[in-house]
Symmetry: C2
Subunit: 420 residues, 2 copies
């Protein structure tokens, strides 16, 4: 477990962004994101390596462009994400579609060059009918996986992702019937974060690959844990890389097959590269023996992870005026602006129902708040438009320090555009 490059937004940048674009807003840092891309690109593999970015973590065009320029390839969870990446100027050949539902238009994407992962026998059947004589990747559920937060597993008997390991022989027959060569094997290990466990599950996947003679590429997914809170450890990529290197070399020695390695982190590449900037709307107390609530204009409509997972994000306050000062440290609950009791930014870790006050300097109305670790699954997975709140803008701090608006703030009219 090592430190991970982390964006610590400079106070003058935060003040400038808030003054120019209003709050709330998402703020990403190109320097941090590039450093993360370098780390992931350095994972390597003994017989070739392709790092992919899991688009779902943050599909904003500027982020996709940045990672494309850094040499990453991409994994799309839906046909929409694949099309979005193509519209961002990414070559179809650098995109792999690994979707829980095929949706309309998947055939067009494949014809344009997007790689295809069959996530179920039914998907493989549909692919085989449409594209006989080609190759595809098979997503496998090897029967084991590590948990994602405290959610159900991404693999194992309780997970719906991929072809159950005992059904792999059926997949091989089905592929043969359509003359489809299963060149790739895909398994998303999950977000557990323990490199020993990661290696253990990767080894199970490789055992399955032994039964798949055409496989030349193995994709071990993402699932590298990121510590967002101070002192919270992140996955040690080099430990996982060393394990993968060892496993692939052993596999090659035993089987004579040199497998190309892919990984596809989403969280690891983006989580620590972004923040949400808000401003303090209110400070409410519930009596001497009660609570002190700091109410922001940032809540579940911008960042849902605390409300859905009990996820922990660092929160810092900042006097709006450079000459201003925050109050003394207090035990604070930080909440969002929605009319919803679960709109809470300081839940108990892993328990969205629990209240976990933090010792923070007491801000005043109008002061700024920086919610850190918000580059992944924040702008891409909020309860968007709840309470009819228009989506917040997204900004990128370029490597030269300039602030670039990459997505404008919505207006109320934008929310009403589709109503008839």
């Amino acid at each position: 477990m090592t430190a991970i490059p982390t964006f610590d937004p400079p106070v003058d940048v935060v003040r400038e962004a808030a003054a120019r674009f209003g709050t709330p807003l998402y703020l990403y840092d190109a320097t941090t994101l590039s450093a993360l891309a370098v780390e992931v690109a350095g994972f390597g593999g003994p017989f070739g390596f392709t790092p992919r970015f899991a688009i779902k973590a943050n599909p904003t065009r500027a982020i996709l462009r940045l990672f494309a320029d850094a040499g990453l390839s991409f994994d799309a969870s839906t046909t929409h994400e694949a099309r979005r990446a193509i519209l961002a100027g990414i070559a179809p050949e650098r995109i792999q579609l690994t979707s829980q539902m095929l949706g309309e238009g998947f055939e067009d994407l494949v014809r344009e060059g997007v790689g295809f992962t069959a996530c179920s026998l039914a998907q493989l059947e549909r692919y085989g009918q449409a594209f006989p004589g080609t190759s595809a990747t098979l997503r496998i559920n090897p029967g084991e996986g590590s948990g994602h937060n405290n959610r159900t597993n991404v693999a194992g008997p309780d997970a719906s992702f991929g072809v159950w390991h005992a059904h792999v022989p059926d997949a091989l027959k089905l592929a043969a019937r359509h003359d489809v060569r299963l060149r790739g094997a895909h398994h998303h290990v999950g977000s557990g974060g323990d490199p020993a466990r990661w290696a253990e599950i990767a080894s199970v996947t490789l055992d399955i690959v032994r039964t798949m003679p055409d496989v030349t590429t193995v994709n071990l997914g993402g699932g590298f844990k990121v510590g967002r809170m101070p002192g919270e450890p992140s996955s040690d990529l080099s430990a996982a890389a060393a394990a993968a290197d060892r496993l692939l070399r052993e596999f090659a020695t035993e089987t004579g097959r040199q497998l190309h390695l892919e990984i596809e982190p989403g969280t690891y590449l983006t989580a620590t590269g972004g923040a949400v900037i808000g401003s303090v709307q209110d400070v409410v107390t519930t009596g001497a023996a009660g609570r002190v609530f700091v109410k922001l204009d940032v809540g579940m409509a911008e960042i849902l992870r605390p409300s859905i997972y009990g996820a922990q994000h660092p929160i810092d306050f900042l006097a709006r005026d450079p000459a201003g000062e925050l109050g003394g440290a207090r035990s604070l609950l930080v909440v969002g602006p929605c009319c919803e009791s679960g709109d809470l930014l300081t839940p108990t870790k892993g328990d969205p129902e629990g209240l976990a006050p933090r010792e923070l300097p007491l801000p005043s109305l109008g002061d700024l708040a920086v919610v850190g670790g918000a580059g992944a699954y924040c702008a891409s997975m909020p309860a968007k438009h709840y309470n009819s709140i228009p989506a917040a803008p997204e900004l990128l701090v370029r490597a030269d320090g300039t602030l670039e608006l990459v997505r404008r703030r919505q207006s109320l009219d934008d929310l009403l555009r589709d109503e008839l």
Copy 2:
């Protein structure tokens, strides 16, 4: 606990909607919604009554128009919701703004005639400065409330909503300083559903109103429980109405003050009036001792309540072809299409982490699914655009049975429009 008017979408309407507009889609029923409006309008009060619809539950223009035509007034949780209602043609005087943050533009709304509820001392101060010599409502936290699902309370020491009861004297002084008359008192009791408890908390609110001499209207919020699942009881509105009637008459006898009553349900007015229609994308199994997953194109991007609350929604399958048949009953888990282990439509009640299989007839790929009880907090509070999934369209079954598209399906271009 009584039965509540509930939309049971006719199979031919579901098939027609799916054929014409594709899936997923939201389907509302005007007849059911109108019946619910009649029930709420009949709640009544001994000295005057105003029923309001809590817009946040479903802010679609067609729904707002339907309730406006049914004679309801409205409660807005944000300035955006209030503006949205005005743009839907609702007179500002019928809208009350009860927002956790004032946001820009609240002064314009008040000038146009929107009623104002101060939800904190800071809001009251800001209102008083802008509108001295007028009147306002005060949202109060009486120190007690009933839980919302298994979330933190909406009132009590752990809730940030409203002015803490011990601070009401401060609010009275502050209002007097700005010559603002506190004509209304507001307290959202919460979603507990027990009428005895509801009456008990309403009584505490009235005790506080005794100390507020200018109050002529008391708003007891919403929070009436709705049973979405077969056999699950709903709040008995008549029991709550009887309790309110008794309390207000007693209050009048004791104090000589005849209070106008308001309530503002959201869930009760809409939950059972809508469904989400999806289609089966896949059926995946994890071995003989494992699970059977039915994967829909409906998931957390359309309906988040199961994933965030462990909420229970009825799910029915329907052969797409009228001549088709479903399979035999099986123990099924129903999941959404997102690349997210928590995208689950059959969680354990109150526990989004838990898996609760249901005995349902096994559908085939392409068959239709009706997720019921989806009129409230579904289209208004999903993880919209997660996995870059465009928002689903909304349809209304008019009283004459015709199917009307009230919100068109988004395209991918709509999601990219704001990118620069």
